[in-house]
Structure formats: structure tokens, C-alpha cells
């Protein structure tokens, strides 16, 4: 479904991703772990089309199509979704209006009918319930004045509305208390299907107690240094990352 091959990316001549290869098949959940600064968020943003990063080598395909040539909106419409580690606050922009526009853009892209405000409201209400968010959030400005946890839930809400093929969750668990974590995980689990896949970027294995990954990968210095199954996450929790990460100048 999503194939990443030998991906290299940099920002201002500063090499961040140094040859990442990863294959994600429908129905799978992949966890990506790794120390701070190892390039996890960069990988997520490069996949979603953040033009700050320059891809110098490698390819990324979604269902056989090269996405690196697509603009960010086409990637999104094609089924890629990133729940940002730091969602931006957009003062004045109404959450529900934004979501309806995004939903309709996708419907249109897929040749399906667009939803009018009434129809969309019904869709939105059901998704709000899924992530246990109060309906008030629909009428607030996007992420504006939201707490850290509320922002993360808002990302999951967007994911639920857009129903992507590949969802990349970048540390959606950090900053969440255990209840919020459970809600987010339930939201994600409800969206799991044999047709879509999830990439979970996380620091902690606790999220993986709620969302069972099929594969766990460790990213260090912009490369995948180890892959395994769920037991790798437990091992990392016990031993840290040092045993996997070779000192940069060592």
C-alpha cells in the first residue's frame, strides 16, 4: 500500500533522513520508535508533503503511485493523513467549516456527493462522540486555545472524518493522561480496517498496549536500525535505545 524506498531528506543541507525503507500493507499497524531528534517527525512530514524538506533520493509510493511529485492536498485526497505532533492553532477559522470543506474536497475527489451543512453536522456529531469531544469544539477556531490533549483529540477527530488509507500518528499519545489515551486509542481502533493502515510514531510503549502493532521499527539518525514485533517495544522500554544507536562519531 505505502512503500518507502531508500528515502533521503534534508533541510538546509542538514541531512535528516538517510535511506529509509519501509513497506506498509493494508490492515497493518506499524509503530516507529526512536530517540528524540532521530527523524520520526521529519519522515511523517516528508510523506505528507511539507515543502520545507528537500527529498534528495529515494521514493514513496501509495498504491503504486509516486506521491513525492504530488502537492500536499493531492496526497491528502489520495488517502494520506498525518496527525501532527504539534498541531497549529488557526485563529478565526471555524473547526466545523474547515472539516466540512476538507470532507467535501475528498468526496469530490472520489466522485461522491458533497455534504450540505446539515448532512455534515450529523457526520461530525457521530465522530465527536467517537473521540468523546464536546460538540462545542466544532464551533471553535481550529486548535485555538485548545489544551495539548484537546489538540491531539482534534487530530483524531479529523482523521475520523476523513477516513484515510494511511494514517500517520506522530506522538499523538504524548501529553495525554490515561483516560485521554484510551479514548484516542479507541478512536484509532474503530477506524482500523482491512483496507487501511496505521503508522504510529511514539516514544512510549504504553500506547501499544491499547493499539496492537504488527511491526515495531526503531529509527536512529535517520535510518531504521531495527525492526521486530511488539516484543521489541517492550525490550526498548526496558533497555532504552543506547544499545541500538551507535555513537555518531564512534
Amino acid at each position: 500500500m505505502l512503500t518507502i524506498h531508500n528515502l533521503h531528506a534534508q533541510i538546509d543541507e542538514n541531512k535528516i533522513l538517510n535511506g529509509i525503507s519501509l513497506t506498509v500493507k493494508p490492515g497493518e499497524v506499524h509503530a516507529i520508535m526512536g530517540p528524540n531528534g532521530s527523524g520520526k517527525s521529519t519522515l511523517a512530514k516528508v510523506i505528507s508533503g511539507d515543502s520545507h524538506y528537500e527529498v534528495t533520493d529515494g521514493e514513496v509510493t501509495l498504491e503504486g503511485k509516486n506521491i513525492l511529485d504530488m502537492d500536499p492536498e493531492t496526497r491528502a485526497l489520495s488517502g494520506i493523513f498525518l496527525a501532527f505532533q504539534y498541531p497549529v492553532e488557526i485563529p478565526g477559522v471555524n473547526n466545523a467549516e474547515f472539516l466540512r470543506m476538507a470532507y467535501n474536497a475528498k468526496q469530490k475527489f472520489q466522485g461522491k456527493p458533497e455534504a450540505d451543512p446539515m448532512q455534515f453536522d450529523a457526520i461530525l456529531q457521530s465522530k465527536l462522540e467517537l473521540v468523546e469531544m464536546s460538540p462545542d469544539f466544532a464551533d471553535r477556531a481550529v486548535n485555538f486555545g485548545f489544551s495539548g490533549g484537546e489538540k491531539k483529540r482534534n487530530e483524531i477527530l479529523q482523521m475520523a472524518v476523513l477516513n484515510p488509507k494511511i494514517a500517520i500518528l506522530d506522538e499523538t499519545d504524548s501529553g495525554l493522561d490515561i483516560d485521554a489515551l484510551r479514548i484516542v486509542a479507541e478512536g484509532v481502533n474503530q477506524l482500523r480496517s482491512p483496507d487501511n493502515a496505521i503508522i504510529l510514531i511514539t516514544h512510549y510503549q504504553r500506547l501499544l498496549n491499547f493499539i496492537q502493532p504488527d511491526f515495531v521499527h526503531v529509527l536512529a539518525n535517520g535510518q531504521i536500525v531495527k525492526s521486530g514485533d511488539k516484543s521489541l517495544a517492550l525490550e526498548l522500554e526496558a533497555r532504552g535505545y543506547d544499545w541500538l544507536v551507535s555513537p555518531v562519531n564512534g
Binding site: S51, V88, P91, G92, V93, E97, K106
Partner: protein, 426 residues
């Protein structure tokens, strides 16, 4: 380029007062006085802060008033019909090239009428109450031939659209509307003034509006300009607020060549509230000056100014606002906020809020920001599947939103959002 003072103003500047229509004798006297006064005035110079950056052609004061210009053709009829459909107005006065057109208008004569039809007694004092402080006010007094008179009686409400249409004429012409809006005790008025043109014609609109908001009365006034790039539009509002009055004045500029709107608000009774709002979205070599003068003559009144501009290409805005708090006007709250979003490196913006405070127990503030569209915000929206145009529309709406939220009249609110959507066409 600013013009230098011309002591020999041409005689046809003042000949415009010799109108075809019959006006009451007292008005002739008022005009004669204004002519006397006119000769003592000079054109504003760069030294006059209120006019500092206003760059008008030196011949402007000579542009003639041409009567019987009310062109009434298919283009005008369909443009007006479209506008009325858009605003779903039930009550409207339509003027074409400065003249009232009864065939296109529909209004309730109990509270509103065109000035050219008849001037009721109630407006006499008001009509000539201005001091002709600058040369353009004085020219308006000398030359006005039409305008809108509204009087909302005690406890009554009214809702009205005024549409000024200009159609191309062979030469540069001028119009000098004089309006009076009078709200009696606890009255309420929603009034929307639209200024539109059918072509890229040059004209000079020089309007003066006198507004009296009585005890507990409520005024929502919005002004919406979508005019020719060659249009010069000066507009002055003198607004007095009695005790407990609530006033919202919103000035929207979608297109115009050179515009200068001056809003003077005088607080004459306590507990009055006024908001002066502005939204500009300019995409060509257009300039909008918003001048405000807020006079807290008495205390315990509250004024908020929020003026926002979106500037593309070589457009320019200038905000000059003076808040005066008189001796003893305690517990005054008066704020000025001016924010500009630059979509181009060639756009220009001036922001000049002033405070003159002679009381000690007051809360007055001002803020000005100039920024650009945040690439991070736009990327966030695109990462959800929105196109560049859709993302921009949302961000521009977002930028406008705190002004829009303050506009109470739902029709003027939707006019701005519809205009944004049309301009960003997607």
C-alpha cells in the same frame, strides 16, 4: 502627489450650488455662508495629519456636478436587481450618478426618503449643523443635491439599504450626497450603504452623513464599497451618541481607487457604546484611508475600533485614529486595533493611532500588527485536502472573523464572506 494650496479656486467649483431643483430658501443661505467660508479654506497638505498620505489629483475640487445624469438603462437595472437579490432587501433607495431614481427604489416614507424629494422640518437643524471644517465638507454643503434622510421614531425599528450606482460618463464628474440619520429614543436602525460602479469610470463621491443616535437607540451602519479603480470616494460620518446609545459602524472596502472614510464619534451621554469596524481587501493599486476621531466628551462610555486589511500587489491602507478623552470623562474605555495582512511585498500600510487623555481613571489602548499568511497554517489546511485557494479563503476569513463577529447585521456579515468566496473563486 499632494497639491499645493491654490488661492484662486475656479468659480465653477461653487457654481454647482445653483441647482435646477427647488430647495428651501434657508438652504440658499446656508450655502452662501459655506461659500464665504470656502474662500477662507485651503486644500489639505501633508502637514495635516488627517490628510497626510491622501494623494488626490489637484483638479479634484473642480470636477463638476452634472445634473440629470441619472442614467437608467438595462445595465443599471440588472445590476441593481442583482444587488437587491443578494441582500434580499425589502426597503431600498437607489441613486444613479448621484440622483435618486424612484423607479428603482422601494421604501417606507414614514421613516426614510431621498433628500431631493422633500426636506421635513425635523432635519433642518441637523442638515446644516456641520462646521465645514475642511474644504471637502464645505464643498459638500455648497453642492449637495441629494442624499438620504432617515428618522426612526421612538421605540421603532427600521431596516434600509441605500445603493449608490455610478455609470460611466463622458468626463470626470462629482457627487456630494448629504445624509441625515436620526434615531429617537430606543429606536433601532440597520442601514447598509452600498457603493457600486458599472464600469471603470472616474468620479468623485464626496459624502457627508450626519447621524444622531438618541437615548438607548441602536444603530448598525455598514458601508460597502465595490467600485471602479478610478473612483475617488471621500466619506465623512459625524455621529453623536446620547446616553445608553449603541452604535456599530462598519466600513468594508472590496474595491475602489482612492477612498477616505472619516468617522467622528462624539459621546454626549454616559453608558454609550460604539464600535468602529473596518475590513479592506485590496488587490490592485488602490488606497484606503480610514480616519477616526473619537471624542469622549463625557465619561463611562466604551469605544472599540477594529480595522483590518488584506493587501495584495501595490495596494495601501492608512489608519489614522485619534481618541480624545475630555477632562472629567472618567471610566472611559477606548481601544484601537489595526491589523494588516500583507499578501505582497509591494503593499504598504500606515498605522497611526493617537491618544489624548485628560482624565485619570480611563482604560485606553492601541495595537497595530502587520503580518503575512502563515505557511504553517496553510500547510496544515492543505494536509487535510484543501486547495491553495480554499486554504487562503479560510485563512482570510479567519483573519476577518473577529471583525465580522462584531458586525451584528447578518446581511452585512454575509456580504463580506460572500465577497471573499467570490474573489478567491473556487
Amino acid at each position: 502627489m499632494m497639491i499645493t494650496m491654490n488661492t484662486n479656486l475656479p468659480s465653477d467649483v461653487i457654481s454647482g450650488y445653483d441647482h435646477n431643483r427647488q430647495f428651501p430658501a434657508w438652504l440658499g443661505k446656508v450655502r452662501q455662508e459655506a461659500i464665504q467660508h470656502f474662500h477662507k479654506l485651503t486644500l489639505p497638505t501633508k502637514k495635516d495629519e488627517k490628510w497626510k498620505y491622501v494623494d488626490f489629483p489637484s483638479t479634484l475640487v473642480e470636477w463638476p456636478v452634472v445634473e440629470d445624469q441619472a442614467v437608467f438603462n438595462e445595465t443599471v437595472i440588472s445590476l441593481v436587481a442583482e444587488k437587491i437579490g443578494e441582500i434580499q432587501s425589502e426597503s431600498y433607495l437607489v441613486f444613479v450618478n448621484g440622483e435618486y431614481v424612484p423607479q428603482l427604489s422601494r421604501f417606507s416614507p414614514e421613516n426614510s426618503r431621498p433628500l431631493s424629494l422633500e426636506i421635513p422640518e425635523t432635519f433642518l437643524d441637523m442638515l446644516h449643523s456641520i462646521e465645514n471644517e475642511d474644504i471637502f465638507e464645505s464643498i459638500n454643503t455648497i453642492r449637495f443635491t441629494d442624499g438620504v434622510l432617515v428618522n426612526v421614531d421612538q421605540e421603532q425599528t427600521a431596516d434600509l439599504d441605500v445603493i449608490w450606482v455610478t455609470v460611466p460618463s463622458a468626463k470626470e464628474i462629482s457627487f456630494h450626497p448629504r445624509n441625515c440619520f436620526k434615531l429617537d429614543k430606543n429606536a433601532a436602525l440597520n442601514i447598509r450603504i452600498h457603493s457600486i460602479s458599472t464600469g471603470e469610470n472616474s468620479y468623485f463621491m464626496n459624502a457627508v452623513s450626519l447621524v444622531e443616535v438618541g437615548n438607548g437607540a441602536k444603530l448598525n451602519l455598514s458601508f460597502f464599497a465595490n467600485e471602479s479603480d478610478a473612483a475617488i470616494h471621500f466619506s465623512k460620518f459625524f455621529i453623536t451618541c446620547a446616553e445608553n446609545a449603541v452604535v456599530k459602524v462598519a466600513n468594508f472596502n472590496a474595491a475602489v481607487g482612492l477612498s477616505r472614510t472619516e468617522i467622528d464619534v462624539d459621546f454626549l451621554g454616559p453608558n454609550a457604546v460604539a464600535e468602529i469596524l473596518g475590513l479592506n481587501y485590496l488587490v490592485r493599486s488602490q488606497t484606503v484611508h480610514q480616519v477616526a476621531s473619537v471624542n469622549h466628551v463625557v465619561g463611562e462610555c466604551h469605544c472599540e475600533q477594529v480595522v483590518k486589511s488584506i493587501l495584495d500587489n501595490e495596494s495601501c491602507t492608512d489608519y489614522y485614529s485619534t481618541v480624545n478623552v475630555a477632562v472629567g470623562a472618567q471610566l472611559t474605555v477606548s481601544n484601537q486595533l489595526n491589523q494588516t495582512l500583507m499578501l505582497s511585498d509591494n503593499a504598504e500600510s500606515y498605522s497611526r493611532p493617537q491618544l489624548n487623555i485628560d482624565a485619570d481613571d480611563v482604560k485606553c489602548g492601541h495595537g497595530a500588527t502587520v503580518g503575512q499568511l502563515e505557511p504553517g497554517e496553510l500547510f496544515y489546511l492543505k494536509s487535510r485536502g484543501l486547495s491553495e485557494a480554499q486554504g487562503q479563503l479560510l485563512l482570510l476569513k479567519g483573519f476577518s472573523q473577529d471583525v465580522i463577529n462584531r458586525v451584528e447585521d447578518p446581511i452585512s456579515r454575509s456580504l463580506w464572506t460572500q465577497f471573499l468566496a467570490d474573489r478567491l473563486k473556487f
